[in-house]
């Protein structure tokens, strides 16, 4: 049986305590929420924290209506995908959360964990044995080249969270807490194009809550490319959201994932003022195609994923036309 390395687990009762513990052990501790990303990585010895700080008691799992919708970081993906308001008004998020892995994993995995999901790569998400045979990679060993593209100055591991493009398309803002206090940032600004330092969060910062603006007039959807109907991470993901004003689009957002090291908002300005005509959709689909920079480090192939990203952008937007 593949087992966890030895470590200490604590589940502090408050966020302050969690942040304090994390600060006290800056190099040897990690936060954990559902554990569905961290524990497999620990079993494969990709990550070996000595202290694991469980956030289950320190963060809220509530999904609250109000000015828009507030998602406690501890809300499970199942709770989000089945929540009536999410299903009715934030379709892309319901789609995306419901397409993550499997029912069991969605019952465990949280929204806070999913937005912080480690980047993935065929050369990285392997056992210690496998990586020893390969000779490791840049993401775990700073002195080793990137196996995907040996000349790459940065790690090319892939952003793989389904919910993130949906949340970006829905205009999500994240409340973070850390040693320096609390702050709110746009979710889209939480990521950078770097497979190693893929989050812009400060050391010790925790996602506390994700806030979605009111969804009046908005319609959204998320399409995911993967080999199988469950288990698989996206190898291309496209979220699209439009706000209708009468019979024309007043606002539009499109975001993609699994096509580079960061999830990316793509310029959807061409849709504004249109009725989502084919021409406007084609312009945005072209932009998606251009923005998609897949590398050969997931399942599928580069050209398939790039092409499908365009097709999915078209299909996602066309499906929103029907809802106008």
């Amino acid at each position: 049986m593949l087992r966890l390395p030895r470590f200490r687990y604590v589940a502090p009762g408050s966020l302050d305590e969690a942040i304090r513990l994390r600060a006290e052990h800056p190099d040897t501790s990690m936060y954990v929420a559902g554990g569905t990303d961290l524990y497999p990585k620990m079993k494969r010895r990709q990550l070996q924290p000595e202290l694991v700080i469980g956030l289950g008691r320190a963060t809220s799992a509530a999904i609250a209506n109000g000015q828009g919708l507030r998602l406690g970081a501890g809300a499970t993906l199942t709770a989000i995908s089945e929540h009536p308001t999410v299903r009715e008004r934030y379709g892309a998020l319901a789609d995306a959360a419901g397409l993550v892995s499997t029912p069991q994993l969605r019952n465990m995995g949280t929204i806070g964990g999913n937005v912080c999901l480690d980047t993935r790569c065929n050369w990285y998400d392997q056992s210690l044995f496998w990586r020893t045979a390969e000779g490791y990679c840049m993401k775990t060993h700073g002195d080793v080249v990137c196996r995907v593209a040996p000349s790459s100055p940065r790690c090319l591991a892939v952003a793989s969270a389904d919910t993130v493009p949906a949340l970006i398309a829905l205009g999500a803002v994240v409340r973070l807490a850390g040693p320096g206090g609390e702050r709110e940032v746009s979710l889209a600004d939480c990521y950078r194009e770097d497979g190693i330092r893929y989050l812009t969060l400060a050391p010790g910062e925790v996602v506390v809550e994700i806030a979605l603006p009111p969804a009046d007039g908005w319609h959204s959807t998320y399409l995911k490319l993967r080999d199988r109907g469950s288990f698989d991470f996206p190898i291309a993901g496209v979220a699209a959201a439009v706000r209708w004003d009468g019979r024309a689009v007043a606002e539009a957002r499109v975001a993609i994932t699994a096509l580079g090291s960061r999830p990316l908002a793509v310029d959807a300005g061409a849709l504004v003022g249109t009725r989502l005509d084919d021409d406007a959709i084609a312009t945005v689909a072209d932009a998606v195609h251009r923005a998609a920079r897949p590398m050969d480090n997931t399942s599928g192939t580069i050209s398939q994923r790039k092409r499908t990203a365009r097709v999915f952008a078209e299909r996602a937007l066309r499906s929103l036309r029907a809802r106008g």
Binding site: M1, L2, Y9, A11, P103, M108
Partner: protein, 165 residues
């Protein structure tokens, strides 16, 4: 490393055992509590063989730390029967040949139970979704759908009989 005492509720019983803090619920069930009905096929959340119910909800015991459970009730395949009476799913799985090698079966049964706890008129799509986190290498899933459907029908009949009585 030293073991820590853990009190855990499993199949309606409260058990206290000493466990290594880094051992998962899967390991504790199988190795400390002798509940080897819970299987394992990957230990990474990629097969579903280790599925158990926590407060009625299917989770992966290979990625669950017992310390996270608190007062939650864990149900394993050993706790599926009520006393000597098998769960209708167990009977239906036998009748439909839904268990071939039987190895994914414990996890499959628990995912199916969670579905039938929600609805006794599951559609084919709901069944397929409910067991989409449980890989079966033998059956092609066909007999499993038939078994879940058969158990649901039997449970509907039982609950109707109870109501009319």
């Amino acid at each position: 490393m030293t073991k820590e005492m853990l009190t855990i509720r499993v199949n309606g019983e409260t058990r206290t055992v000493a466990v290594e803090p880094h051992h998962t619920l899967l390991e504790v069930l199988r190795e400390e509590l002798g509940l080897t009905g819970t299987k394992h096929g990957c230990e990474l959340g990629e097969c579903g063989a280790c599925t158990v119910l926590v407060d009625g909800v299917p989770v992966l015991s290979c990625l669950t730390l017992p310390a996270q459970l608190g007062q939650a009730e864990v149900t394993t395949v050993e706790g599926l029967a009520t006393g000597t009476e098998l769960h209708p799913l167990q009977t239906a799985f036998a009748e439909e040949g839904a268990a071939q090698c039987g190895y994914c079966t414990p996890g499959m049964l628990l995912s199916a139970k969670a579905l039938l706890d929600e609805t006794l008129v599951p559609t084919h799509d709901e069944m397929a979704q409910a067991i989409s986190g449980n890989l079966c290498r033998c059956t092609g899933y066909t007999a499993i759908y038939e078994a879940i459907g058969r158990a649901a029908a039997r449970m509907r009949k039982t609950s109707e009989e109870r109501r009319t009585r």
